[in-house]
Amino acid sequence: MTALVLIGTSYRIAPIELREKMAVTEERAGELARGLAADGFEAVCLSTCNRTELYLAAEDPAVAERTGVALLAGIAGLEMDEVLPRLYRLHDEAAALHLFRVAGGLDSLVPGEAEILGQVRGAAEQGAPGRVLDRLFSQALHAGKKARAETAIGESPASVSSAAAVLAEQVFGDLCSSSVLLVGAGKVGELAARSLASRGAHIAFVAGRRRERAEEVAREFRGQAVAIDGLAEVLSQVDVVVSSTSAPGTVVRSQDVAQAVGGRRGRPLFLIDLAVPRDVAPGVNEIDGCYLYDIDDLEAVVAETLAGRRREAERAEEIASEEAERFRVWHASLDVVPAIASLRAWAEGVRAAELAKADGRLAQLSDGERRVVETVTAAIVNKLLHPPTVRLKEAAATADGSSYADAVRDLFGLGDDDGSQGRIPRQ
């Protein structure tokens, strides 16, 4: 039987220094896999910032493992002994379960993150899968999608900036008609603004102490730079305020917000304060129609959603296990498939031979009657072979598959798995 072997490393057992050395681009991963295919392996290489893994299918698992370890050591530019302690080596069902967990985001740094599914797909497309790896990666993609569809593992935000954007959606719904004021043109605010913009919001104004930097960020978002002293004038024109200055005191005052809200005809104002010390006066949250979230509030939301993802991960683990079991049954059935094929070919040979022998006696039959004879004899063969075929496949799911296959070959005098047929018995 073709064995499945996984050799890899991830953030769980390897420091970033080693992961950096082993990381390859998707194209390079594809080249490596195709190189292994030239040596007779089925191969797929999955490389992300958190892991580099080689999936191999080969007749001899020991050879596959040695080859994989040597290849990864070569990529890292290290001796095999140096990388071995930082590699995991898994076989067959354990390897399949690992990939299904990876595809489901269960082995990710942030549980349920969605990017990995695309990376698994990309690796499979670039790689050189054969029958086993093709099935393995198809099932992995299915398991990943199923985990996300049937659980909430990937639904909630996993970072402060995305949590801020999702909370803004809780107020305004679709952000396409929402405009944003970015106060402070630093990296933190820019990240939150980017998250809002990715959901359709328009970054209308950028206010910063350094005018040039504010203009630069405003240009990037096709917004307008405003002076930080002129905030009060633009507050009534925006729906979301993101503030992240390094100012020591309050930048957005309660009275300015109250005044701005008065001119908004009840439309809410959502304020995100990412600065420490805080930029927005805490009293703003008390104003009707204003919702103020500071960094602690956002971190509490993220912590809760991550805890929720971990809870959902338990259900996603079940999905991965079910898929791994399905793969195991399929993989084990490969043991008996040649025996079944031989048995069926032998039976079909017997049927064809007997019909040929009776050809003279069947000569007086019409074409229609001959077709009936063909159909009936084929049906008899199929019905006779159906129970042993099913039993063989069932036995393959347990440990007895190969002994059953041997027994069938022996009883019916079938050839080996290389396709040579048994002798058609003479009557």
Binding site: A152, S156, Q170, F172, G173, P268, T305, G308
Partner: protein, 263 residues
């Protein structure tokens, strides 16, 4: 036959109410889907029940207080089904379905799910008056449920509840818009229903009673809502309170019906 349809409808509505409660603990799970299916199955069974009642009576059959309550529940659930099929609005069922179960049970206890009896009013008048008022009240009940969700969501945002994303509700602005639109659609139906009733009252030389006064008060309150919302541009918490307060009057009319119209 009628009895045979009542129990499946009640059980399905009850299952939906319980499942909606479960869906708040584990959104995205099976509970939400079970709840939606409960509403659908219950609605189908109740629709069958109403058809059986109408076929058995051969005229407008919901002439009693309990009968009109039965019709009212069906209208509320029908209106909810319109939104409830969308996953983001599933939790609206948390506000609607327990109320529907209680009112449906009351309708059953009052005989409103039995074969219909006779009435001194004509079928046409009852169909128009009761039908329009029930449609109006059903819409206003749904609007109150939407407003309740608004207040809940608003409170969660104000209090910075960390679990706010675990139980996703429709956005504030959407809830606000839907509440206003539902009232804007329901109030004309109620207005027509009231007008038909008053015309009939004037023709028969009847006298207004307390219930009519409460109905007119509800009408006035929701009319004021529309003026505040669309005329003065009020939004948010203040108008949501008005919508919820209106439900008290709607329920007062329903529970006052046996004292004035069916005593």
């Amino acid at each position: 036959m009628v009895e045979l349809l009542f129990w499946p409808a009640l059980v399905a509505y009850g299952e939906a109410a319980v499942a909606f409660a479960g869906a708040t603990r584990r959104p995205g799970g099976r509970a939400g889907r079970l709840a939606t299916w409960g509403v659908r199955v219950g609605w189908l069974a109740q629709t069958g029940l109403l058809i059986a009642q109408a076929a058995g009576a051969g005229r407008f059959p919901w002439t009693t207080w309990a009968g009109s309550l039965n019709l009212f529940v069906w209208l509320v659930v029908s209106a909810y089904l319109f939104w409830g099929c969308r996953s983001r609005f599933r939790l609206l069922g948390l506000a609607v379905m327990p109320l529907a179960v209680i009112l449906f049970l009351l309708a059953y206890a009052g005989g409103g799910t039995d074969e219909a009896g006779g009435s001194r009013y004509s079928s046409l008048f009852l169909a128009v008056h009761v039908g329009l008022v029930s449609v109006g009240f059903a819409g206003l009940t749904l609007a109150a449920a939407l407003a309740s969700l608004y207040l809940w969501q608003e409170r969660r945002l104000k209090r910075h509840e960390s679990a706010i994303l675990r139980v996703p509700l429709p956005p504030l602005l959407t809830l606000d818009e839907l509440t206003a639109r539902t009232i804007a659609v329901s109030l004309p139906a109620l207005t027509l229903g009231i007008a038909v009733g008053l015309t009939r009252l004037a023709r028969d030389g009847g006298r207004p009673d307390a219930l009519m006064a409460v109905t007119l008060a509800a009408w006035g309150l929701y009319g004021a809502f529309l003026i505040l919302r669309f005329g003065l541009g009020w939004r948010g918490r203040r108008v949501a309170y008005v919508a919820v307060a209106g439900l008290v009057l709607v329920l007062a009319v329903h529970f006052g019906l046996p004292l004035t119209h069916f005593s």
